[in-house]
Amino acid sequence: MAGCAVHFYRKILSAAGLAVAWLGVCCSFGCLSGGDASSGPVYPTRTIAILCPWAPGGGSDRVARFLADQLQRELKVPVVVVNQTGGRGFIGHAAGARARPDGYTLTLATFELCTFQALGIADLSWRELTPLAQVNGDPAAILVRKDAPWSTLRELLEAARTQPGKLTMSGTAAGAAWDLARVGLLLAEGLPADAIRWVPSQGAAPALVELLGGHVDTVCCSVAEAKTQIEAGQLRVLAVMGPQRLPEVPDVPTLRELGIDWEVVGWRGLMLPRDIPPAIEKRLAQCVQNIVASEAYRQFMRENGFGIVIRQGQEFRDFLAAEEAKWNDVIARVGYRQAESAAHDPGPWLVPRLCGTLLALGTLAVAASAWLRRRAMAGAQGSGLVGPANTANEPASPLAWKRSAALAAALVGYWLAMGWLGYLVPTFLLAWGMMVWLELRQAAALVAAGVLVGLIWVLFGQVFQVALPRGVWGGLP
């Protein structure tokens, strides 16, 4: 057994040595071919990724996929969309800011980027990225049911003034774009921020269902998100919060026409990591300019109901700075950071405290009853028992658990290795190592591991363009 183990470890070492040698070769190639783009030759030479902080199928994802398609035509390399969702868009934006500035990772930035710091979600601002271009702007809109008692926004605001806190509005999560739009509108009219109560929802779609069902009074979202219901005549738009009227709803006035000094436009744009070489930035800026000038772009935006608002370069930067200042001000005035929760919300700690208490009490109860039962069991039982009884499934010896622990440790090492060495090499080593450890013949293990990794690379890496980790060769962290 010991001899086998030594033999096995020797094999692992030689495989590791080979891997290191291969790494060295690849690194040198990597340095030659685009690792350092500013002095290097042609850009781009491999797949470009657009990070999308929102889920597949949603509006931002669709915009990202369209842009990816167009960029692919322009740059003649594959361009894929990689969704990294969570944290109200923070995860995707943060990943985009952290990516290597080699031009192979773009970010589809959205409105939320200017609110992370103010809301206390994270210390990320648009200055950590290089803004390339804004490609879309959808103003917020106030919607009501077609049989609602208010036919203009003024009437709605009057109702809110006379009975503050009675009316409800929904559209997205608390502190997200449309909630902030509502807050700014109320503040601009001299009303308190909770004159119309905000009912959080998981996005516009469920909020519109609530509105149709009569469970909330109004919804604030973009016209694009409510397109179907507006066209079907079930909902009416009272006002839009943009600089001018929208072609989709030409009879609806803007806030400025109603004399309210407030504007909210949910925007989407492309950004690069900070410190990007100017040559690459210029190249991509030119591509984006070509795309937004094209008929395909106009048609795509029109069909999906997305508003066309384009800003590039310094104009985009100025817009972002203004947005950041605006939201810092509004959020500070409302006190989102300080306030634990909205009115009547039992707060975010109710459920964790309840669950924690129940879990602690329950675990104590189970442990106590198990201990009592063990004491009641007379005679000498095998002391290797874990827990109340031994099931048939469980291996009896603690030595066996060492094997499980070893595998778990190997997996953790594999996980960490992937961040440095990419996906393919560590996976091959893990598959091969595990099969040999489980006493498969080495030749068979080599073949099996090779086939497995090869299939994954072909199917998932090439055909489906899954952005497998590339470690030090660039790509996703």
Binding site: G57, R62, V82, Q84, T85, G86, G87, R88, F90, I91, I121, A122, A173, P200, V209, L212, V216, K227, T228, Q229, A232, E340, H344, D345, G347, P348, V351, P352, C355, G356, L359, G362, T363, A365, V366, G387, P388, A400, W401, R403, S404, A408, L411, V412, W415, M418, T427, A431, L438, E439, A444, A448, L452, V453, I456, F460, F464, A467, P469, L476
Partner: protein
């Protein structure tokens, strides 16, 4: 109508359709790879195909993956997708008794029937159901979530008390991350990755897939082929006889599955658990559940396929996806210029008809494709166990990564794998934990948003007619079996 069918049987549509179904079977049958991931991968490809072919490809993948998850559940005790978790216990127990082939064939037929029923209901009842779904508000969703959680604890094999604890633990784990209602960060400990919370898909992969591998690794022997796949002595006739004998249960489960799938937020996995729970509660042989009951296989497998069809109801009529798979498919539909909404049946009737034919056709085609999948898998099982286990680990890692393209989720998966080993050692059921992670956010959100809407009053949770009905259902689900047992078998003992 005839020309719709003819269009669908053209090779240019049939080939991608069958390929999509085969891919769906592969995805579903491989623990670690999920239907959500598969559909997300396939959608960009579908844009290169003509609309009918592209739709057939996407729908083929999404419907078949749900069935195929039952294959490894039966042979390896590892569900291929979350929706198969409910059927795992009984299918695997049947496999241990040498009747695995019977279980899978039964599964296949029930999935097909459940799916067909779901599509029929989708076609005939969509407008009605969608209008009804509008009246559901936070209060009703809250009770549904509580119902789901308690059913999951009740159906878990072993101690119900430990099942409830697992459920509570799952809810606690689900609170990690940014709170939707208030925007506060909870339990993030300053780590930015945790603002997204603990995604339940890597957790499920780790809890069911990796933990099983970790346990297997501690056992031996190795040289023997994975699990004994005896030459099948069961023919199709026995399967068909069982189906006919249990036809009402299949009908009930499919109906329940469709209705639950139609509720946004409740998907195939919850439908499977609810159907399993209902079948157990209404069965005359409830003690066999978890030990190889055919009802325990029939009910969840028909329900989860029906639920996939049911999820299309709010998707088509309201534009609201019932689960993550449908969300991605909806986005793809928009790219195909099919706009969901109340008028879809009037304005885009022909496209909807195509969709429905594809959905129905997929259920029928599931029989041959699924059967081939079963045979392919049992051939794969003859591979040495070492290769299978290594493969499962690799796919667990790949699947966890591909959910959100983050290596972080692989770490989550590993952590949950270790947790799963620990919990099984303490005889804590795993199913309620996952359901707690899925339903926890729903229950919490609906409770708090409901209170915001009602200005702090708890009354609407109990006085709204639909809420009242659900509370009644909840009480009935818990009390009825106790009462029945008391009436029918005065000397009966409770399972413990």
């Amino acid at each position: 109508m005839a020309d719709s069918l003819l269009i669908l049987l053209k090779p240019s549509v049939l080939v991608p359709w069958l390929l999509g179904m085969a891919f769906g079977v592969f995805l579903g049958a491989t623990p670690g790879l999920t239907a959500t991931m598969g559909v997300a991968l396939v959608v960009p490809l579908s844009f290169y195909l003509p609309p009918d072919a592209g739709l057939a490809l996407i729908i083929g993948v999404s419907f078949t993956a749900i069935f195929a998850g039952d294959i490894p559940a039966t042979w390896l005790r590892i569900p291929g997708t979350p929706a198969s978790a409910a059927a795992t216990l009984d299918s695997h127990a049947l496999a241990r008794q040498g009747r695995g082939d019977f279980a899978l064939r039964l599964d296949l037929v029930c999935s097909c029937l459940g799916g067909l029923l779901g599509v029929l209901l989708l076609a005939w009842l969509s407008p009605l159901l969608a209008r009804g779904a509008i009246r559901f508000s936070d209060y009703e969703y809250f009770w549904l979530g509580v119902l789901g959680l308690s059913l999951a604890a009740a159906v878990s094999v072993g101690s119900t008390f430990r099942g409830l604890l697992a459920g509570v633990g799952g809810v606690l784990l689900s609170t990690v991350g940014l709170d939707m209602v208030s925007g506060r960060a909870r339990f993030t400990f300053g780590m930015s990755e945790l603002t997204a919370g603990l995604s339940f898909i890597p957790a499920m992969i780790g809890l069911f897939g990796l933990s099983e591998v970790l346990r297997e690794v501690a056992k031996g022997p190795w040289q023997a082929a994975a699990s004994q796949v005896p030459k099948s002595a069961t023919g199709w006739s026995e399967v068909l006889r069982t189906v006919v004998r249990r036809r009402w249960l299949i009908l009930r489960s499919s109906l329940l599955g469709t209705l639950i799938g139609a509720l946004p937020g409740a998907g195939a996995d919850i439908a499977a658990w609810c159907a399993y729970g209902l079948a157990q509660r209404t069965s005359r042989q409830s003690q066999t559940f978890g030990h190889g009951s055919e009802e325990g296989v029939l009910a969840p497998t028909s329900a989860n396929n029906a639920a996939v069809a049911g999820a299309w109801i709010p998707a088509l009529v309201l534009g609201i996806p019932g689960d993550s798979v449908t969300a991605i498919v909806l986005g793809a539909l928009l790219m195909y210029h099919i706009r969901p909404g109340p008028l879809i049946f009037e304005q885009q009737a022909e496209q909807v008809r195509h969709l429905l034919w594809i959905a129905a056709g997929t259920q029928l085609l599931l029989l041959p494709v699924g059967y081939l999948g079963i045979r392919a898998f049992s051939w794969m099982l003859r591979l040495p166990r070492a290769a299978i286990l290594a493969g499962v680990v690799v796919f667990c890692v790949l699947g966890s990564f591909a959910v959100n393209n983050r290596l972080w989720d692989v770490g989550v998966m590993i952590a949950f794998g270790l947790l799963g080993v620990l919990l099984e050692a303490w005889r804590v059921p795993l199913g309620p934990l996952i359901l707690g992670m899925i339903l926890g956010p729903l229950v919490e959100e609906k409770l708090r948003v409901g209170l915001i809407k009602s200005e702090g009053h708890l009354a609407p949770f109990f006085t709204r007619p639909l809420s009242l009905a659900l509370v009644g259902l909840l009480l009935a689900a818990w009390l009825a079996p106790l009462v029945l047992r008391r009436l029918l078998r005065p000397s009966g003992t409770f399972a413990r």
